[in-house]
Structures are given as structure tokens and as C-alpha cells.
């Protein structure tokens, strides 16, 4: 029962990040923040279980693709791929310090920023231009916002365990 409750809370948090993202981009269209990616990365390093990465990446990606003009599967593939790389990094490095967490968020965001247009070129036959400045800025924003969010998620997780 405890596990079911915890899983439900995680599910609610994941859906909330997508809803919050939709609201934020309604009022700040140029915002380069990707809250759902941050939530997937957190679950990856917190649960240390690839199934969580795959499950959360799929759910988040599906929700994002459903609410955007793009085809289903693009965001899911990106989130799962980046999540898996973060999982592998977590097995080699202890991603529990501020610097390593920030670095992981930054690099993961850069990878997502490159992978998404690559997928669009490969599968949708689009002529994509890689905007380096935009990808870099997105990485910085995601890392800076994601770090305090990680600590908030930690607190929620600790209160659940108590």
C-alpha cells in the first residue's frame, strides 16, 4: 500500500510538471525551461532503477507530444535516451553533490537539445538548424532551476519515507 501511495505521488508530480510547463509557456513563450526533463532526471538518480527512467520518460514524453503539434514518440525517445545516459553516469559517479547534480542537469539538457532536432531530421525529414546559443542557454536555465527543484523533491521524498 505504501509503495502504491508513493508511486501515485510520483505520478502526480510528473503530470504536474507537464501542466506547469504548459502554463509557464503560455505566459512566457520564450522560456527555455524543460521541467518534465528535470523530473525524469530526478527520478533516474533518486530511484536508481532503469524501469523508473523508462516509465517516467515514456509518460512525460507522451504527455508532451499529445499537447504539442509534433508526432507522438519524439519527446519520449529523447527523455528516455537522456535519462538512460544519466542513469549510466549515476552508476559511475555519485550524483548527490551540488556540482555533480548541476553538471548532470546541464549536460543532459545539452544532449536533449541536440537529440531532438537530430530525430526531427532523421524521422521527419526536416531541415533543422542547430541554434547553439539557444541550446546552451536552455542547458544553463534547466540546470539552475533544476538544482533547487531536486532539493524540493528530496524533501518530499524524505517526508514520504518518514
Amino acid at each position: 500500500m505504501g509503495n502504491l501511495w508513493r508511486s501515485t505521488v510520483v505520478l502526480i508530480i510528473i503530470v504536474s510538471t507537464v501542466v506547469l510547463q504548459v502554463l509557464l509557456t503560455r505566459y512566457f513563450p520564450r522560456l527555455l525551461l524543460d521541467l518534465p526533463l528535470v523530473s525524469v532526471l530526478y527520478l533516474t538518480i533518486a530511484k536508481e532503477n532503469l524501469l523508473w527512467t523508462i516509465g517516467s520518460g515514456t509518460l512525460v514524453g507522451f504527455l508532451q507530444d499529445s499537447l504539442s503539434p509534433g508526432p507522438l514518440g519524439l519527446n519520449g525517445f529523447t527523455k528516455i535516451s537522456v535519462g538512460c545516459l544519466a542513469y549510466m553516469a549515476n552508476t559511475f559517479l555519485a550524483i548527490d553533490r551540488v556540482t555533480t547534480r548541476w553538471g548532470m542537469l546541464f549536460i543532459s539538457s545539452l544532449l536533449a537539445g541536440v537529440l531532438f532536432p537530430v530525430l526531427r531530421i532523421l524521422f521527419l525529414n526536416r531541415n533543422e538548424m542547430f541554434d547553439g546559443e539557444r541550446i546552451l542557454l536552455s542547458g544553463l536555465i534547466n540546470a539552475s532551476v533544476g538544482l533547487p527543484l531536486f532539493y524540493i523533491f528530496d524533501k518530499i521524498s524524505q517526508s514520504q519515507n518518514e
Binding site: V18, Q21, V22, L23, L24, T25, R26, Y27, P29, R30, L31, L32, L33, D34, P36, L63, Q64, S66, L67, S68, P69, G70, N75, F116, R126, E128, S138
Partner: protein, 273 residues
């Protein structure tokens, strides 16, 4: 020396009589328009004294009210501050309502002018990624809209519906990288396809290099894509990029403020067939 006054009674009597005489003298003098002498002497003595006493009382009272007894003043100040804040909030709310009514009125006028079946929609969300330029609307199949319905605002074309459910839909903006709108230039009548660049800009492709394009020229929908009705304003030519290729590239500023959309008008599909 003989004792001049034998008792106190005599003293008193003397003073009283003298005083009586003076009063009498004063009353006689009062028959003229001037102030009687006794009255005048009384005033000259009493008034300065009265003035100084009353002045002191007034100063003390002012000091009390102005500096010492400020308890009530502080409470009144707090109450008034609260009222001012509430009034300010009410004014802001009313101003926002007025702006919203203005937008709705503009859309209603556009709806009446177009004489095409349409329905108003409110923007309730943005894109859940930061890769697309899209918005989420609060109407769907139940309101009679479908995929590829055009959406416009009072300022011009905004985009088209790409995803639709029963009660909501996803609007792809004309500035989206995947968007394509059949357009023509008002003066040169050259046809092309408007593509999105993100932000508030787009560009037109497939316009021949020999076509003369003027900066500021209006860009209108051609209707050839079977999505947007012909003749709707899309934007204005911002710049032309000279090219030795077959086609020139034309930068366009979208007329509708797609970054700050609140309400749009969705044209129903039957009107475009």
C-alpha cells in the same frame, strides 16, 4: 497727627464711592461712540492675560494631538492604507476586465465582418516543450471545430488547428518551424509559402527572384492551401534577401502578436469548402 480713618469700614466705603464715580463717569462717556473708559481699562488688563493663557492651552493641545497622542492616528492610517490597497486592486481588476472586453469586442466585430461560421476560443496553455510554437485552446470537437481549421485574431492570421479532442485543441502558430501558409504579396501578386522562424517572424519561400518585392508590402493568404480563406492578412514584408538563385527569400513580420495571444477566432471547416 490726627487719625484720618477711624475704622476699616471707612476705607471700604471710600473705595466703593470712588469706584462708583468712575463707573458713572464711564457711562457718561459711553454716550459717545467710543468704548467706555472702565471697559477699556478692563480689556487692556485682562485681554493680554487671556491671550497668553489661551495661546498656551492651544499650543499644549497641538503638541498633544500632533506628537504625543498618535495612537488613534496610527490606527486610522492603517485602516486608510488597507482601503487604498483594496481600491487599487479593484481598479486593476476593472482595467483588466476592460481590456478583455476590448479584445472580445474586436473579435466579435471581426466575426461579424467575415460573415463566416466561426467560434471564439480562449488560449489556456502554451507548448509543453520549448521546441514548437503552439497554443492550447479551450474548445474542441464539441464546438464544431476540426483539424486544419484556421484561427485568426483581430490583427491577422494566427495559425491552424493540428490536434483536437472533445473539449480542447492544439493550435499550431504560423511562426512554428513546421508551419506552412499559402500566401501572396498584395502589390506584386507573387505567390509563395510562408514558413515560421519562431518568435514573431516568418519567411516566404518560392517567390521568383525576378519579382519586385517592396518592404512593408502586405502579405495575404492565397487560399491555395485549402486551409486559410483567401485575402486574410498574415503580415508585412520586413526585408528581402537578394539571391542569384531561382527563388528569393523574403522575411516577414507576422501582424498578429502571436506571443501574447489571449483569444482567437477559429473558422469552422464548412466555410472553407
Amino acid at each position: 497727627m490726627k487719625q484720618f480713618f477711624k475704622s476699616r469700614t471707612e476705607w471700604i466705603l471710600l473705595i466703593a464711592v470712588l469706584f462708583g464715580h468712575l463707573v458713572l463717569l464711564s457711562s457718561r462717556m459711553g454716550r459717545s461712540t467710543e468704548t467706555p473708559l472702565l471697559r477699556s481699562w478692563s480689556m487692556e488688563v485682562a485681554v493680554p492675560l487671556l491671550k497668553s493663557v489661551v495661546g498656551s492651552i492651544t499650543s499644549l493641545s497641538g503638541l498633544w494631538r500632533g506628537y504625543i497622542d498618535l495612537r488613534r492616528t496610527y490606527q486610522e492610517n492603517q485602516v486608510l492604507k488597507g482601503q487604498v490597497e483594496e481600491s487599487r486592486r479593484t481598479i486593476i481588476a476593472y482595467e483588466e476586465k476592460i481590456r478583455e472586453l476590448g479584445r472580445i469586442e474586436a473579435l466579435a466585430e471581426l466575426q461579424a465582418r467575415l460573415a463566416l461560421p466561426s467560434v471564439r476560443a480562449k488560449v489556456i496553455g502554451g507548448d509543453p516543450t520549448h521546441w514548437y510554437n503552439s497554443r492550447i485552446l479551450d474548445i474542441g470537437l464539441d464546438a464544431g471545430i476540426a483539424r486544419d481549421c484556421a484561427a485568426i485574431s483581430a490583427d491577422g492570421v494566427v495559425g491552424r488547428i493540428v490536434q483536437v479532442s472533445r473539449r480542447s485543441s492544439v493550435l499550431q502558430l504560423v511562426t512554428d518551424l513546421d508551419s506552412g501558409v499559402g500566401v501572396f504579396l498584395e502589390n506584386s501578386r507573387a505567390h509563395g509559402v510562408l514558413k515560421g522562424k519562431g518568435g514573431r517572424d516568418g519567411f516566404i519561400e518560392y517567390v521568383g527572384s525576378s519579382e519586385k518585392v517592396v518592404v512593408g508590402e502586405r502579405v495575404l493568404t492565397s487560399g491555395l492551401d485549402q486551409i486559410y480563406p483567401k485575402g486574410l492578412l498574415v503580415g508585412y514584408v520586413a526585408a528581402t534577401v537578394p539571391s542569384k538563385q531561382i527563388f528569393q527569400k523574403i522575411d516577414v513580420t507576422i501582424s498578429a502578436n502571436v506571443l501574447k495571444l489571449e483569444e482567437v477566432l477559429v473558422l469552422k471547416k464548412e466555410s472553407q469548402s
